[in-house]
Subunit: 381 residues, 2 copies
């Protein structure tokens, strides 16, 4: 096991009816900016719940944070927040709204253009922020990370805030009205978050392996019900909690991590607009296929424990595990090949060129360069 520091101070408030208590977690003396997406919270009642809970608080509203939040939008929120001297930023929505909120909270403490924070990869300072989540998947509700896009240049970069969310309120009932394709993307995102932290080498930590496998087993078990039965509270609960646990540090203690698929997926989203979770379903099986030799021992463990694959020689089991992974994504209704999205040589070439130009090296061993990225993209074309 590698040395590590685990420190996650976010208060996770979970369960039906908890949004009504929101006011208890915010001092009445602070000025709050509520940040929203496109308006689904008005249809599903979450907006009304939040406004009612904060009726005695000093709040202003900022609307219009889009999926893959754009710096162009967030700059406006930062200007407004600076003018209004906001103390606390409360994201009400899904992972994109919260990611955007993290950039806004950091941006009000930054003198230059806030896009520089995304380019740098971290914020030195941040105002306080918190969330009421409606669509879980990204894990943003319990970590300091965020991914920000720039429309002008079709770029997408991750950065880490200096602060974690003060609190995040998760009521599984808020997911009842989420469209099925967004849920499918969410399940894909959660599953691949776990794989990025798990699918490296064996023997680093027995208990971290078990916990990662436990989330993947759970996601595989609940996926059909999550997609078919929108009002099943118990599976929505496990869905929401798995999203948070998959990327809050709890399965990352002392183990190496990969994240190649995410980095490639981010470029694909930036250039084509394909939803994040959907890009992972395409890229991940190809990543596994290209890297199957160096990840062989872990793939065998994954095959046995997550998919209960047995029989055949090791190479056959590895192949079955890769197929099972792709089949899982397809069972969610997701595409797993680039051509299905009309993505061809041109986009592949552009992505590879971006990695080559930036000299990006990916993977847990730091050996995934632009040439390997090209192999992965050709594998799933």
């Amino acid at each position: 096991m590698q040395n590590f520091i685990y420190h996650n101070p976010t208060k996770l408030i979970f369960g039906k009816g908890e949004i009504a208590k929101l006011g208890e977690y915010i001092d009445k003396r602070v000025k709050v900016m509520l940040l929203f997406g496109g308006g689904s919270v008005k249809q599903n009642g979450v907006y009304d719940q939040v406004k009612k809970a904060l009726k005695d608080h000093n709040t202003i509203e900022f609307w219009g944070i889009e999926p893959n939040p754009k710096i162009e939008t967030l700059r406006k929120a930062i200007s407004q927040a600076k003018a209004e001297k906001i103390d606390l930023f409360l994201a009400v929505g899904g992972g994109s709204v919260l990611d955007g909120t993290k950039l806004v909270a950091a941006g009000v403490k930054y003198d230059g253009d806030p896009w520089e924070i995304a380019l740098k990869g971290y914020a030195d300072r941040s105002a306080d922020y918190a969330s009421v989540m409606t669509l879980s998947a990204t894990g943003s509700e319990m970590n300091a990370g965020a991914v920000i896009s720039r429309g002008e240049t079709n770029e997408k970069f991750a950065f880490f805030s200096s602060k974690y969310p003060l609190f995040s309120i998760l009521d599984p009932q808020t997911t009842y009205s989420i469209p099925i394709d967004q849920l499918a993307n969410g399940l894909s995102d959660i599953f691949v978050h776990v794989l990025e932290q798990y699918m490296t080498a064996t023997g680093q930590s027995r208990v971290m392996d078990r916990w990662a496998e436990g989330i993947m087993q759970t996601i595989a078990e609940i996926a059909p019900t999550v997609l078919d039965n929108p009002n099943d509270y118990e599976t929505r609960s496990d869905y929401m909690i798995c999203a948070a646990l998959a990327l809050n540090g709890m399965i990352a203690m002392g183990v190496t991590q990969d994240w190649s698929t995410h980095m490639i997926g981010h470029e694909l989203t930036a250039l084509t607009g394909i939803a994040h979770g959907a890009t992972l379903a395409v890229i991940y099986p190809a990543t596994l296929s290209v890297l199957k030799d160096r990840k062989k021992d872990k793939i065998l463990q994954y095959a046995d424990r997550v998919w209960r694959i047995s029989g055949g020689n090791e190479n056959m089991i590895v192949q079955k595990a890769i197929s099972a992974t792709e089949s899982f994504f397809r069972s969610l209704g997701l595409k797993t090949r680039l051509f299905e999205y009309g993505v061809g040589e041109e986009i592949i070439g552009e992505i590879v060129e971006r990695f080559a130009k930036r000299k990006t090296i990916l993977g847990e061993n730091g050996d995934i360069d632009a040439a390997v990225v090209k192999k992965i993209l050709l594998e799933c074309k």
Copy 2:
């Protein structure tokens, strides 16, 4: 899944050599009381590491916190700390030293006799405290709980601090010199911590079940090496991390909990001095045996997933799971019957009378009264 709040702000600092960085985590302006047990930290080098790391800090020392820390000892530390105006209390040792430190940190903020905090079950206020752990097992390094004994009356009560440890430093190398019987008690304690949060009803949270099972599988796998090969860093790492994860709230999200065995075990320790982990190895199989009908579904899941028991009808599988649990404790070299400790009718009667007098009701359904406690104690006599 039940509603819950998860909030654990402790910074966990893990790995070889991390004690050397201790000074970085403590402001030089604060006055620190270092609290120790009986002196093993002087033999294993931890004392020297701590003193070296804090050579530029303002520290005083308090020695002699015993296993099952006694209020009589802790009162002395509180008097000294009040006189010296201590800001931060740093436990250096195992779970008992840290439990005692929690009471001392709360006691300096309390005007009455600090035993009242243990009787009340919680502290309203506390000074800051942190730990350098040498013997993991109790999970005290990452929670707010502590168990305090009173020698004058042979009583033992748990209380919750108003604060979590600021940080806990865990270097698996510090466990290399721990005597084998203490390690066995620790493994028993970790395993039963998980069972107390797991062995209730099925279907509350799939992922919490998987995480609890993951810790138990890990403990069962590593136990032989932990006991036989004291210098195996990897298994000691999993041992230490499992101890922290078993009782820091991470496997308790949204699920009911039992804790009957712990409550009975505390009385046994208070009256006989048998080590805590050793009492659990005696009581737990008996608890399972007496409560097997109401816990049947979960025992069947536990049998399948933790012990891979299959074949036979449900009652046979339940019986095999109870036997496997007792066999596991015996494989650690622990006794599993009261008579092996010379404990007979008199002590059993005294424990039952204590529960009857206090009208204590235990268990996840609040239906374990003194009569059931008596059945459990007779089952393992």
